[in-house]
């Protein structure tokens, strides 16, 4: 009750209100620009807010955190360039919706789902933190490995047409992920004696190249007439649509919260798993997945925003960041004199401030997320001859901005050509990115599991559950698929 009052007290503080709103506005628009990632925006704000007192600083950072996760979906829907890794799965059905002339409706729905996802994540953060933190702390290497393998099953979901081509793409991605010096060994692998490759291949650079430059080159190669966008009568989806998909929203949010709470997993993994779960469980969807199914938009957008609350749980209770942004956030909090451990009990005021800032940010997400959509949609009315060069230039600058390294630009161009070639020969591009994203999780935990094999402590009570899920999911999907076809 006291915590609740604390949150309420913080919500009505003008500085929390102003700075959380400002942060959300910044986050929504920064997130939409490829190359300006949430981690980068938060890192920059941390340095800017260094001298500020903790209330405005934390409010601003929380606002940005909420805003960027949604912002990334805008460019994913409009241009098939995810503004952030968490928006990769949004593009699977969001972009086809835009190609059908429903970009504005897709962005409206994405905003509402992001809002609901964020609120459910905050709810979990406020009321379920001790329980979720306990579960996530028992996760062992073998569980992470099984989780990675579960996420790899997503290849089946994102391979349109040919599973073999999807598997081929995923193995290319996983192999490219092996380039560079692995975290557990001091050996350079497959770097072709190029020092630049010692650090490995950034999957954000690959993502910009494969999705952004690859798509732009593909658009140049085909002579499609420009898609006429429907004049949206309403951007906010009807309440009937939201209520109809409420079970999917809740299940996606639960996935988001849980995956977000796992150290190192983050919003991108949450969104991918949410999308996969939706594809396996949703039946009688009006449009098939991958061709503009609203369910394919609802699941990842809810999951990636719910992961915000999830990622904050281990950070606030155990001092372990859930993803890259919370790692930066942890550093920011320590700069403001906050010790790492058990923030929730040691600094209840700060905990309620974070909750309040998140609530306000999610409310402003509705405002800033639903406004400006018509302006964004106008981007698609720009002639292809003007828009495609702009996208290619944005890809160049975006790839450079990640590490301010010119070799990243060359790598991005290489991935752009690879993306174009794969698309031209009808190989799915998403599994390559999936492989790159999952590589670190799979390799580091696989090696640990092999080394610890035989030690009973390597298993947790979750291991059999995850193992059963790994075996059962493809079988259930196959049976359900057969029934659907019948």
């Amino acid at each position: 009750m006291q915590e609740f009052l604390g949150v309420l007290q913080n919500i009505i503080r003008p500085e929390v209100l102003i700075f959380a709103a400002l942060g959300t506005l910044l986050g929504v628009y920064v997130g939409a620009i490829p190359g300006l990632s949430g981690t980068m925006a938060v890192s920059l704000l941390v340095s800017l807010t260094y001298a500020w007192s903790e209330v405005p600083a934390i409010s601003l950072i929380m606002g940005v955190f909420v805003g960027v996760v949604y912002g990334g979906s805008r460019s994913a829907i409009l241009l098939n360039i995810p503004g952030a890794p968490a928006a990769v799965a949004t593009g699977f059905d969001g972009y086809p919706l835009a190609q059908k002339g429903k970009a504005a409706q897709a962005m409206g729905l994405a905003c509402i789902q992001s809002f609901i996802g964020t609120l459910l994540g905050i709810f979990a953060l406020a009321f379920l933190t001790p329980q979720i933190a306990q579960i996530s702390s028992v996760f062992r290497s073998v569980d992470f490995l099984l989780l990675g393998l579960l996420a790899l099953l997503l290849v089946g979901s994102v391979s349109r047409g040919s599973l073999l081509k999807g598997l081929l793409g995923a193995s290319i991605g996983l192999f490219l992920g092996c380039v560079g010096k692995p975290s557990q060994f001091s050996v350079n692998r497959f770097t072709l004696s190029l020092r630049y490759l010692d650090g490995g291949i950034s999957f954000i650079v690959a993502m910009i190249g494969l999705f952004g430059a690859g798509e732009a080159l593909y658009q140049l190669s085909v002579d499609y007439p420009a898609v006429k966008q429907e004049a949206p009568k309403r951007i906010v989806p009807p309440i009937k649509t939201i209520l109809k998909h409420l079970p999917l929203t809740v299940s996606s949010a639960l996935i988001g919260i849980f995956v977000g709470a796992l150290p190192g997993a983050g919003g991108d993994m949450a969104a991918l798993l949410g999308y996969d779960a939706a594809k396996r469980t949703v039946r009688k969807n009006e449009t098939p997945f991958g061709e503009g199914a609203v369910e394919g938009l609802i699941a990842p957008e809810t999951a990636n925003n719910a992961a915000i609350g999830g990622a904050l749980i281990p950070m606030l209770t155990l001092g372990i960041p859930g993803d890259a942004i919370t790692a930066v956030l942890l550093g920011a909090l320590s700069m403001h004199g906050v010790s790492h451990y058990s923030l929730m009990t040691a600094r209840p005021n700060l905990f309620s401030l974070i909750l309040a800032a998140l609530v306000i940010a999610s409310l402003f997400l509705l405002l800033f997320g639903l406004t400006g959509i018509r302006v964004f949609v106008k981007l698609l009315k720009i002639p292809k001859g003007i828009l495609m060069p702009i996208i290619l230039m944005l890809c160049i600058v975006g790839a450079y901005a990640i590490n301010t390294n010119l070799y990243d630009v060359l790598l991005m161009v290489g991935f752009g050509f690879l993306g174009f070639t794969l698309k031209r020969f009808q190989y799915p591009v998403a599994p390559v990115v999936l492989g790159l994203i999952l590589h670190e999780l799979l390799e580091s935990n696989a090696v640990r599991v092999i080394r610890l094999w035989g030690n009973p402590e390597m298993f947790s009570f979750l291991t059999p559950i995850l193992f059963a899920a790994l075996i059962a999911l493809p079988i259930i999907s196959r049976i359900c698929g057969r029934k659907d076809r019948a």
Binding site: I33, L174, F175, V187, F190, S221, K384, I386, L394, Y400
Partner: protein, 145 residues
């Protein structure tokens, strides 16, 4: 001979290229594993490269077993020039500053390659370059090349 060559459609050639790439990946991973030995830096790449090789092999087999697809049509010259410009732009960034390269690339791509009118091309080139500088360099302090 002509009939034999007709079997090699672009899809099949691409499948063969992927197979060759997978052979390269497999041999590199095998060499690394032999050098490192045991459970080391080469183990995981070897497993992945084996899968890559297997899938690429199956892909070639399936591509030759299925009927020949309708020809995809040749790639337009617009794409080739666009791709060349992109590669050139990325390569030249090592030597030429972005504020020079960006408007030139955008104008050339829009006006010359994609046959847009000169005024919208010029406007989009200058506005985009300005916005890129404003957002990246001024607002986010990214030191652009």
């Amino acid at each position: 001979m002509k009939r034999f060559l007709q079997n090699f459609t672009s899809d099949r050639i691409f499948a063969i290229i992927l197979l060759l790439a997978s052979c390269g990946a497999f041999s590199a991973a095998l060499l690394l594993q032999l050098r490192e030995g045991g459970i080391g830096a080469g183990t995981f790449p070897l497993v992945v490269a084996s899968c890559f090789l297997l899938f690429a092999l199956l892909n070639v087999v399936f591509s030759f077993r299925k009927r020949i697809d309708a020809p995809r049509g040749s790639l337009s010259s617009v794409l080739w020039i666009g791709a060349l410009l992109l590669g050139l732009c990325a390569g030249l960034l090592l030597h030429v500053p972005l504020w020079v390269l960006s408007p030139v690339f955008l104008f050339l791509a829009s006006f010359v390659v994609l046959k847009q009118k000169w005024l919208p091309s010029l406007l989009s080139a200058s506005v985009t370059t300005g916005l890129i500088y404003l957002i990246f360099a001024v607002l986010f302090r990214v030191p652009l090349p």
